[in-house]
């Protein structure tokens, strides 16, 4: 991989975009990487647009600013596509990963001619199927790992299972559901 990978997350307050960025930082850290995971704090409320960031590298990360030319963009909520310039600065040899069921014609029209790869995933369906509730961040996390190739899939799954066991020690029913959501998402992310 390149020495420094930069990822920008777009979501709405309460959907877990910040948590997804922290989980990705954790997973990459556990494979020996240098990481940064940070949200852009604003006057956020439930439902308001929020941004979070990741830097992942094989060497120490010294830069401390937001990310303006990301390698990857993850959009957790497709209703943001018309109001937020999600492809701003996104590298053309990078990719955007969107949680959506909208068709490619619509997506291409709202992405303002973005020339890089566009991936979609139905995180709602996966989340409802595996967890019975709408938590888009777990499937989105797996989709970003799949597309960006930052962490080998097997290592990622094993590591996340360990994290879930720790995190949900008192709610074991969530462990299998979340692992299942990751596995489904790794297979169901589609390139347009």
């Amino acid at each position: 991989m390149n020495d420094l990978i930069e990822i920008r997350w777009h979501g709405r307050g309460g959907q877990g975009a910040k948590t997804a960025s922290l989980l990705l930082a954790d997973a990459a850290f556990n494979t020996g990487k240098y990481i940064q995971g940070f949200p852009e704090y604003g006057p956020e409320r439930m439902g308001a647009p929020i941004t979070a960031y990741n830097r992942i590298s094989n060497s120490p990360i010294r830069i401390h600013s937001n990310i303006y030319e990301p390698d990857y963009v993850a959009v957790v909520d497709d209703t943001l596509l018309e109001s937020v310039d999600v492809t701003s600065g996104l590298k053309e040899d990078g990719a955007i990963i969107i949680n959506t069921t909208r068709d490619s014609e619509y997506l291409k029209s709202v992405l303002k001619g973005y020339k890089g790869n566009i991936y979609t995933i139905d995180a709602r369906k996966i989340s409802m199927q595996t967890l019975g509730k709408y938590f888009p961040n777990t499937p989105m996390l797996a989709a970003v790992v799949k597309v960006s190739n930052i962490i080998p899939e097997e290592e990622f799954l094993a590591d996340m299972e360990g994290s879930f066991k720790h995190k949900f020690a008192k709610k074991p029913e969530l462990i299998t559901g979340n692992v299942e959501a990751l596995k489904l998402a790794l297979n169901e992310v589609i390139k347009l």
Partner: protein
């Protein structure tokens, strides 16, 4: 063996406090430092530390409680930001002039108003003359390391001054990054036990703390305080040397990054130093002799050492994350240029006020500063040394 971890700057600071295990922590929550007392209070509840945690009703009381605890002979710590520090202001001076080595974690944030919760250095700059030792930290690692070194400096018998460890609010306080932690026993051994010479709870030596101090003595006491601040310089270096022996991590008054042969030099503090290192590397690849001087110890101000380190530059930019609103320039700029003047160094130097209220400072911004320095060298002319970096509406 150090412990490889990933923590936010706030988590790192709370863990340093846990390992230090002070006698008293008194704090009132304020963004973005809230998490420090929050995490620390869980260590208290879990019995991980045996600290007396005082959940006060205001920052004025937080500092007052720290003063009371230190005067009694205990080791006391607190954390705050911005207007929290403003509310402490009266007691900040009492802590230092009463020579109580309280340690504070200051997570830098703009002082209102209008209301802004984001980072700049206006809180710290407001107390720069209050007699506290002030250390600045580029990232979570330095915030942690500076706290581990803090008590050894503050409590030294030649110093006895309170000390604050600064880091950038949100930018490092809320960013998860890699960090190397020390084992609990190593920290305990390094920090050592606090054994004050004079304290209120010593029944063999009844004393008064903070009584009237009028014309007959305050002048001499102020002189002793000033002497203590001068003494702190040697102690800071001695403690850093011991810390390096334990960790391999080297600290001094400031960090010189590719400064030896640098012609274009930037001076700044806290997280922007990291961003600037990236830019220095990019410029060096293009054959431009760029360098960085990152201030760690702002009080005492290492004037002579800074002047010497800057003496080979051709143009210098000093970045201030707070404006002094004096129509001349920021506080760090005044300190650096005065250090150069009294040490007979005359190099074109400009000031940039930057990053106010959390305005993001990018590599692009830092590149523009180095281009301006190149322009100064090329034309041998400085137009307006007092500048605002990237501000809108300055046409």
């Amino acid at each position: 063996m150090s412990i490889r971890e990933r923590l936010s700057g706030n988590e790192a600071s709370a863990i340093a406090m846990k390992q230090i295990n002070p006698d008293v922590v008194a704090a009132f929550p304020i963004t973005p430092s809230t998490e420090i007392p929050q995490y620390f209070s869980t260590f208290v509840s879990n019995g991980t530390v045996d600290t007396e945690f005082v959940a006060v009703e205001s920052e004025h009381s937080a500092m007052s409680a720290c003063i009371g605890a230190e005067a009694a002979g205990a080791r006391a710590m607190t954390a705050t930001s911005s207007n929290g520090l403003s509310l402490m202001w009266e007691m900040i001076y009492i802590a230092s002039s009463t020579r109580l080595p309280i340690v504070m974690s200051l997570v830098n944030r703009a002082v209102s108003g209008p209301l802004n919760i984001h980072n700049d250095h206006s809180d710290a700059m407001g107390v720069r003359d209050a007699g506290w030792i002030m250390l600045f930290s580029e990232n979570n690692q330095e915030a942690y390391d500076n706290l581990i070194m803090a008590h050894r400096i503050a409590e030294h018998k030649d110093v006895l001054l309170p000390l604050m460890v600064c880091q950038d609010g949100f930018i490092t306080s809320h960013s998860i990054e890699n960090i190397e932690l020390l084992e609990d026993e190593k920290v305990k051994e390094f920090v050592g036990k606090y054994t004050p010479e004079h304290y209120l709870l010593n029944r063999d030596e009844p004393i008064a703390v903070g009584p009237m101090d009028l014309q007959a003595y305050l002048f001499e006491h102020k002189f002793a305080q000033a002497q203590a601040m001068r003494n702190a310089k040697k102690v800071i270096l001695d403690v850093a040397a011991d810390f390096e022996k334990m960790t391999g991590r080297k600290y001094s008054f400031f960090e010189e990054y590719k400064l030896d042969d640098a012609e274009l030099v930037l001076v700044c503090m806290n997280s922007t130093a990291g961003t600037s290192k990236v830019v220095v590397d990019e410029l060096r690849e293009r054959g431009i002799k760029a360098g960085l001087l990152k201030i760690r110890v702002y009080r005492p101000f290492p004037a002579e050492e800074i002047a010497k380190a800057l003496s080979n530059a051709k143009a210098i930019a000093v970045l201030d994350k707070a404006d002094s609103l004096n129509a001349v320039g920021g506080a760090l700029f005044s300190d650096v240029t005065s250090a150069m003047f009294v040490n007979n160094i005359n190099i074109p130097t400009v000031n940039y006020i930057y990053g106010i209220g959390g305005r993001d400072t990018t590599t692009k911004d830092i590149h523009s500063v180095y281009s301006d320095l190149q322009e100064i060298v090329n034309t041998n002319k400085v137009n307006n040394p007092y500048r605002y970096l990237g501000v809108r509406g300055n046409n």
